[in-house]
């Protein structure tokens, strides 16, 4: 079986005698027996640590849960700095969590969560920060300041949690380069190995924002900029 891997300057083809294996197993085999310099990240081998996300045939996957096919083309994630071969620098993407204030700001001692409350953000708290969604996001690709899919999903996780007293700060924080910048293209949902839909979470955050008195700035602008108070076009 032959696969192509993006190295520093070009794609290199490797021939391995393996069937029914995960990409991570194949990468390990190549590194240990053919080319010690092949560089990639991995850790848990069982899809919970988020280390080994790469792109195969232009789609984001976890190397440890993807079964290799003959002719596969393997590349690093997009929209993040490539350090070497398949290893990328996640620092900037991870900073969006801090910029979005994705944490519990003020604990509500009185809030008793029910079994139903647990289900509200159970899926969102399955996120492994693998970065696949940032690689697939066309908005993050052109606007490095965009808070991005996993950070906004995390914000929704805390906003939807009854234990968070200070929901307002969170909603305030995600108005600029946040929920309204998303094009709702759904690419993040398609590539998420944990079946999380950041797009759906962003829609819920938009609803909360509207309830808090915010509105879609592009919408407001098109009215404010395009029409006068009486509705007649202004030039």
């Amino acid at each position: 079986m032959k696969i192509k891997i993006k190295r520093e300057y070009d794609f290199i083809e490797y021939d391995v005698d393996m069937q029914e294996n995960t990409l991570l197993e194949v990468l390990n085999e190549i590194k240990q027996t053919q080319d010690n310099s092949l560089t990639y990240s991995s850790s848990c081998r069982s899809s919970v640590c988020g280390s080994c996300s790469v792109r195969v045939n232009e789609k984001e996957v976890l190397a440890c849960s993807y079964k290799v096919q003959d002719g596969d083309v393997v590349e690093p994630l997009k929209n993040v700095e490539v350090i070497r071969d398949l290893v990328v620098n996640m620092d900037k993407a991870l900073e969006t969590n801090a910029r979005a204030k994705a944490w519990l700001q003020e604990y509500n001692k009185e809030a008793a969560l029910s079994h139903e409350d647990e289900k509200i953000n159970e899926l969102q708290s399955d996120c492994i920060l693998c970065g696949s969604c940032y690689s697939a996001c066309p908005v993050y690709a052109v606007n490095g300041e965009f808070l991005g899919p996993f950070a906004l999903t995390r914000v929704w996780k805390y906003v939807s949690d009854k234990r968070e007293l200070d929901q307002k700060t969170k909603i305030d924080t995600i108005q600029t380069n946040g929920v309204w910048d998303c094009t709702l293209c759904n690419e993040c949902t398609v590539v998420c190995p944990q079946d999380i839909s950041s797009k759906a979470d962003i829609e819920k955050l938009r609803m909360r924002s509207t309830m808090a008195g915010y509105s879609d700035p592009s919408f407001a602008q098109s009215f404010g900029g395009g029409f006068g108070f009486d509705g007649s076009p202004t030039f």
């Binding site: 848990c44 919970v48 996640m90 944490w103 079994h115 949690d161």
Partner: protein, 507 residues
């Protein structure tokens, strides 16, 4: 680069320690060879023990007694009492920072029974308890602006003339440069050493015992290194964990003839030994959950079905799942007192790399997540206090100049491939210093390790790049693992009688 408290490792123990030290009012820097949310903690599934009695009657005393029993006399009762008494507070704290624990119908934190517990005591977050605790700790660290630097590999500790620790020598994996990180105190929270068994381990490939090996070289005492817990059901080829719930829900263990050979719900070490005995007789061992039915499996064991299909190419609804018992948790580690202080001044340790004498010869399920929170906090507080109280820590950061291994590496000849040696060591230790040990097998393993240590200069790194050289990092890890192997086999040889996970067979 200077800070007050330097923490090596950003798993549950390291991040908890960081938060505690920060709260005590000192500067904190956390270094990890991966990223903070990628550490071993994320793999913990089962739960975290605390005698809350939310589901049925329970008491802290019962938790203490269960823990002591499992430890086979090798635990310190005072430490166990402290950990179990603090458990309800630890869970309460995690809840207050936003951990999404599963809830009962009446709105309490849900609890389930794990092996060796007299009551449903483990608080859990579906099947992702460790993942959700780790990520919430990470979020909390962001809110407190804890400095965390990723891709930093611990090479050695820095020492003052008086022998106390004043920082760490770190390889910046991204640049290939060595960095001196000076600090008034250092906390090691760098994880266990299950990967000395190489592929015969459920653990992340990063569990190479770096912090323990480095502490040993810095003169710290280690304790209980012979105690390694083997989990009965790792998938045969990948060693990926199939959770205990598969047997809890009624799964059988069978051999090649289709015969059951043990009580599936006996303690982990007993079941692992039964499996091992069968395998030594040439049997293959399988987990059989077919009789539970496809509908039941999809509802109650979806994760297990997914893993078996992916990593073993079998569908548990219709096929047997090939398994073997594999290394899962290492009880041994750097010896620390109740304040997480090691035998070396200025050096603290917590988490799986430390031995707080709470697990003894066998860890109880649900106690590892508990330990990292309770003693992570202790370590953070104690290391912060050290920077205030200890006069020595006020002196300047002048460290002794010592040769480091990286300089010597340039002389390495590269005649022997260390990757194949790493596999061989894993297989040898699994066979000779694993579930069942005989004196002559252990002696043989000891000789092999001594020889390999001598041969290290004949091994080396083929990748010459400075930038992100994982070939180099893996070689440094291998060197650490050899040091650990030596201690494991020595302590195993020294302990003549069977005790907990250390099972000696006369010849």
């Amino acid at each position: 680069m200077k800070t007050d408290v330097l923490i090596i490792g950003a798993g549950g123990a390291g991040l908890t320690a960081a938060l505690a030290a920060k709260e005590a009012g000192v500067n904190v820097r956390v270094l990890t060879k991966e990223y903070p949310t990628r550490s071993q903690t994320c793999m913990a599934q089962g739960g975290m023990n605390a005698a809350l009695g939310n589901v049925s009657d329970d008491s802290i005393e019962a938790h203490i007694q269960n823990t002591l029993k499992s430890a086979h006399g090798e635990a310190n009762e005072e430490a166990v009492r402290y950990m179990c008494s603090e458990a309800p507070n630890a869970v309460k704290w995690l809840d207050s920072i936003g951990v999404c624990f599963s809830r009962t119908q009446d709105g309490k934190i849900a609890q389930r029974t794990l092996g060796g517990a007299s009551a449903p005591r483990a608080c859990y977050a579906q099947d992702y308890t460790g993942l959700k605790i780790l990520h919430t700790l990470y979020d909390k660290c962001l809110s407190k602006e804890v400095e965390i630097l990723s891709d930093r590999y611990l090479v050695d500790l820095l020492k003052k003339e008086d022998g106390s620790i004043c920082g760490a020598l770190i390889l910046n994996i991204r640049t290939g440069e060595l960095e001196h990180h000076f600090a008034k105190s250092v906390i090691l929270a760098s994880g266990g050493y299950s990967r000395i068994y190489d592929k015969q381990s459920t653990n992340s490939t990063a569990s190479t015992g770096d912090g323990i090996a480095v502490a040993l070289r810095a003169g710290a005492k280690l304790l209980g290194m012979e105690f390694v817990q083997f989990h009965p059901t790792g998938l045969k080829n990948s060693s990926i964990l199939v959770s205990e719930s598969a047997r809890g829900e009624g799964g059988y263990l069978v051999n090649s003839k289709g015969e059951r050979f043990t009580n599936e719900l006996a303690p982990r070490d007993e079941v692992s030994r039964a499996i091992n005995e069968q395998m030594l007789k040439g049997e293959e061992i399988f987990l059989d959950i077919r009789h539970l039915g496809e509908t039941f499996i999809d509802e109650n064991l979806p994760q297990e079905r997914k893993l078996a299909k992916l990593y073993e190419n079998v569908d548990p609804a219709f096929d047997l799942i090939p398994i073997k018992a594999v290394a899962h948790y290492t009880m041994g580690g750097i010896e620390v007192d109740n304040k997480s202080q090691t035998s070396v001044s200025g050096l603290f340790a917590c988490g799986e790399c430390a031995n707080h004498k709470v697990h003894g010869a066998n860890r109880l399920g649900g106690n590892s997540l508990l330990e990292i929170i309770v003693f992570g906090r202790e370590a953070g507080k104690a290391a912060a206090n050290f920077t205030f109280c200890d006069d020595k820590s006020k002196s300047e950061f002048d460290c002794r100049k010592e040769d480091n291994f990286l300089d010597m590496l340039k002389e390495c000849k590269n005649e022997i491939d260390f990757y194949s040696k790493r596999s061989e060591v894993g297989e040898l230790f699994y066979k000779n210093v694993g579930i069942i040990r005989t004196p002559s097998q252990m002696k043989e393993a000891k000789d092999v390790i001594s020889k390999l240590k001598e041969e290290l200069p004949l091994m080396g790194v083929r990748d010459t790049s400075k930038v992100y050289n994982t070939n180099l990092v893996e070689f440094l890890e291998f060197r650490n693992m050899l040091d650990i192997c030596e201690v494991v086999v020595d302590s195993a040889l020294e302990r003549k009688e069977s005790c907990g996970a250390h099972y000696v067979q006369a010849e």
